[in-house]
């Protein structure tokens, strides 16, 4: 397998990423990008892709926040600081694998094939933004916290029952671990030994509630004990460590070792640099100092510095990536903003496979009113 110290080694090596103490996070790069662990076996093009995705995510995030400020988009949940966790993990999945996101996984979704335009549309209030293209294995955004965890388990169970290879990676936050659905979903995964990766984005805060207030357990990774599955902590701001750990978990889920559970709970320790959403003011509940401390762990300069050291990046390539990224995000925004407001029919269209008569009538009544009064009759205020 070649993942060395961090790898999942079915041959029975004694040092195994799943046998570390829960409070000893897997690390590959330190805060300055110096190598402090086993570098996963990635091609140069892959390393560049990871870097590039993180840059897109960061730039997208900034643009989205300002679109919201300008009234061109609704409430938006920023992800800055969390790029490594999202990109590193999503990049470790195979083509047929699935992700089951919460509402903040724009970068993971992008890696898995959701166009930026759709993410924008979604936060601009268009239902279409939540429709993954046919060949993209991403379940819709789940807003009720932790409610997607049982879905991920069920999807993985379907894969197992059908003798398919797909592994299902579920994202959720530190706050989500307090919900009953987290417990029930992960427990099911243990019992039915489903090919799941439960990826916890521990960004230290659930809106204003700090991690210590969610639970008294020292780590979130150790919650795996309650389900008899593997649990591991990783430096969630180290894209290579996240990649390595997720890869190991995915491989174990796909090709199970008879002695190990297929499911893994990964706690990716990280920080959200910005507000919870554009509706939130984090200065009310947390100190600038804390933010500064975590900003020093920023995953992007970290990987960039490593890639520069390795000779994979230099000023010129960085500049060209930068302008590509800007162009790509700008194009997505243009496209999203050029979409027309959906037709009212869309309210009804997908409630059922075939519209019940009463809904047809309600739609007709709406149309009659539009006919009579025009759209202004609804859009007032």
């Amino acid at each position: 397998m070649g993942l060395g110290l961090f790898g999942y080694e079915p041959e029975g090596a004694t040092v195994n990423v799943f046998e570390r103490p829960y409070d000893d996070p897997v690390r590959v790069l330190d805060e300055h990008g110096a190598v402090v662990g086993d570098v996963p076996d990635l091609e140069e093009s892959d390393l560049l892709a990871v870097y590039r995705y993180m840059r897109i995510a960061r730039h997208f995030d900034g643009r989205a926040v300002s679109l919201q400020r300008q009234g061109r988009m609704g409430t938006y949940p920023p992800l800055s600081g969390q790029e490594a966790a999202q990109v590193g993990s999503a990049y470790a999945l195979g083509a047929d694998d699935w992700i089951v996101p919460s509402y903040r996984e724009h970068a993971a979704a992008l890696v898995r094939g959701i166009p930026l335009t759709q993410t924008l549309l979604y936060w601009m209030g268009h239902e279409d933004g939540n429709r993954a293209p046919e060949d993209v294995n991403v379940l819709p955004v789940a807003v009720p916290i932790a409610s997607q965890v049982p879905h991920a388990m069920g999807a993985a169970w379907a894969s197992k029952l059908r003798d398919e290879d797909a592994v299902v990676c579920c994202y959720f936050g530190d706050g989500a671990t307090s919900e009953g659905d987290f417990h029930e979903g992960v427990n099911f995964a243990g019992v039915f030994d489903t090919p799941n990766v439960f990826f916890c984005n521990n960004n230290q805060w659930a809106i204003s509630v700090p991690r210590e207030r969610q639970t008294r357990s020292e780590t979130l990774a150790q919650k795996a004990e309650a389900y008899g599955i593997d649990g591991v902590q990783v430096d969630g701001m180290d894209p290579l460590a996240v990649y390595a750990v997720t890869k190991a978990a995915v491989e174990k889920a796909r090709d199970p070792d008879p002695d190990r559970p297929r499911p893994t709970l990964i706690e990716a320790v990280q920080y959200r640099f910005g507000a919870h959403t554009t509706a939130d003011d984090p200065t009310v509940y947390r100190d600038d100092d804390e933010v500064e401390t975590w900003r020093r762990k920023d995953p992007i300069p970290r990987l960039e510095s490593y890639l520069r050291t390795e000779g994979i990046l230099d000023d010129g390539r960085v500049a060209s990536i930068e302008s590509d990224v800007e162009a790509q995000v700008a194009a997505a925004i243009d496209e999203a903003e050029s979409m027309v407001r959906p037709e009212p029919r869309e309210l009804f269209e997908h409630a059922y496979a075939a519209l019940p008569t009463e809904l047809e009538r309600q739609f007709e009544a709406l149309e009659a009113l539009r006919e009579k009064h025009g759209d202004a009759a609804f859009l007032e205020e």
């Binding site: 049982p150 388990m153 069920g154 269209e349 809904l359």
Partner: protein, 328 residues
């Protein structure tokens, strides 16, 4: 004509599951005690032996997990048929039901559909402990995206359950446990469907139309029969599906008599009788000769069994309700 069997309602449930599991590998049954034990009401008896532990699955004791994982399986195109042991234990999964089961299609604009059927026995009258006698179909009818079926005969049960399992949309299938074994009916051995969303007239009548469904269909018919002695000729319409309601059938049947009674065991306030009354008066007020009478459970928590007979609509209460509508 195909062969028929003489089955109880719960046997018809089992027969429908068996039939669909035979025909479609993607159908799996999951829930508490549905496997080796065959279900606490024997609704899944023998299925574990027939189809094995991968298709008839005993789950941990966690309703939200059961419904939630079925959502995930269904999103992948399987046709899970989760069972919740009693409808009074559906509430821990309420978020999964209303936030996900109902909305996955709309949320994903049809990319993901949920061909799943959530079964649960509902209703009172069996001398059961607290929470085992609930009839809260209204909790699901108010949420768009769900279909809610409540059969009253073995024939309908099999046909409707097969329809539910084949339906591209999620269906909540509430089984009247009071009459699980109360009587038998002829049920074809083959697979057949009864369409979801269609009411049926169980008894024709001239004077008044009585709407009901599920376990209340029998005492309602009994009341209608017994009132012939008093010269009252009541029509009885069995709704069978409570969401979406068969508005056309309701309005047509009402217009023929101008008088209506709705019978259900759910509490009165916020129950379906109110909705049906509203439909009638919004579409047929000019035909209305009397207020719609609601014969329902009371607005109190379902009692322990020493008092349940006072709670449930009895034949006498239904008769009184019909008289009231006729004599107004």
């Amino acid at each position: 004509m195909s062969e028929t069997q003489n089955l109880t309602l719960v046997q018809a449930v089992r027969d429908a599951l068996y039939t669909e599991m035979q025909l479609d590998e993607e159908v799996i049954v999951l829930g508490q005690d549905v496997g080796k034990n065959g279900g606490v009401f024997r609704a899944t008896e023998g299925l574990f032996e027939e189809f094995g532990g991968d298709r008839v699955v005993d789950t941990p004791l966690a309703e939200s997990g059961i419904v939630g994982c079925a959502v995930g399986m269904a999103a992948m195109g399987m046709r899970p048929v989760p069972e919740i042991q009693f409808s009074g234990f559906m509430y821990p999964s309420y978020d999964q039901i209303v936030s996900h089961m109902a909305r996955f299609r709309a949320r994903s604009r049809g990319r993901f559909t949920l061909p799943m059927t959530l079964r649960a026995p509902y209703g009172g009258g069996i001398r059961a402990p607290e929470h085992h006698s609930e009839s809260k179909e209204a909790f699901y009818v108010h949420e768009a995206g769900l279909k809610v079926v409540m059969p009253s005969t073995p024939y309908d049960t099999k046909g409707l359950l097969i329809s539910a399992i084949r339906d591209p949309d999620p269906v909540i299938f509430l089984e009247p446990k009071l009459i699980y074994r109360a009587f038998r009916g002829e049920v074809p051995e083959e697979d057949y469907t009864v369409p979801i969303g269609e009411a049926v007239t169980r008894r024709e009548g001239e004077d008044v139309t009585v709407f009901t469904y599920g376990a209340m269909a029998r005492p309602t018919l009994e009341a209608a029969e017994s009132l012939t002695e008093e010269g009252i000729d009541a029509e009885v319409v069995d709704l069978r599906t409570v969401s979406p309601l068969d508005r056309e059938a309701i309005v047509d049947a009402f217009k023929r008599t101008g008088r209506a009674v709705v019978v259900h065991e759910a509490p009165k306030t916020g129950g379906l009788a109110g909705e049906i009354t509203a439909i009638i008066q919004e579409e047929a007020l000019l035909y209305q000769e009397a207020p719609v009478t609601r014969v329902t459970g009371f607005d109190v928590p379902y009692p322990l069994y020493a008092l349940e007979d006072y709670y449930l609509p009895s034949v006498t209460r239904i008769e009184e309700g019909i008289r009231e509508a006729v004599e107004f």
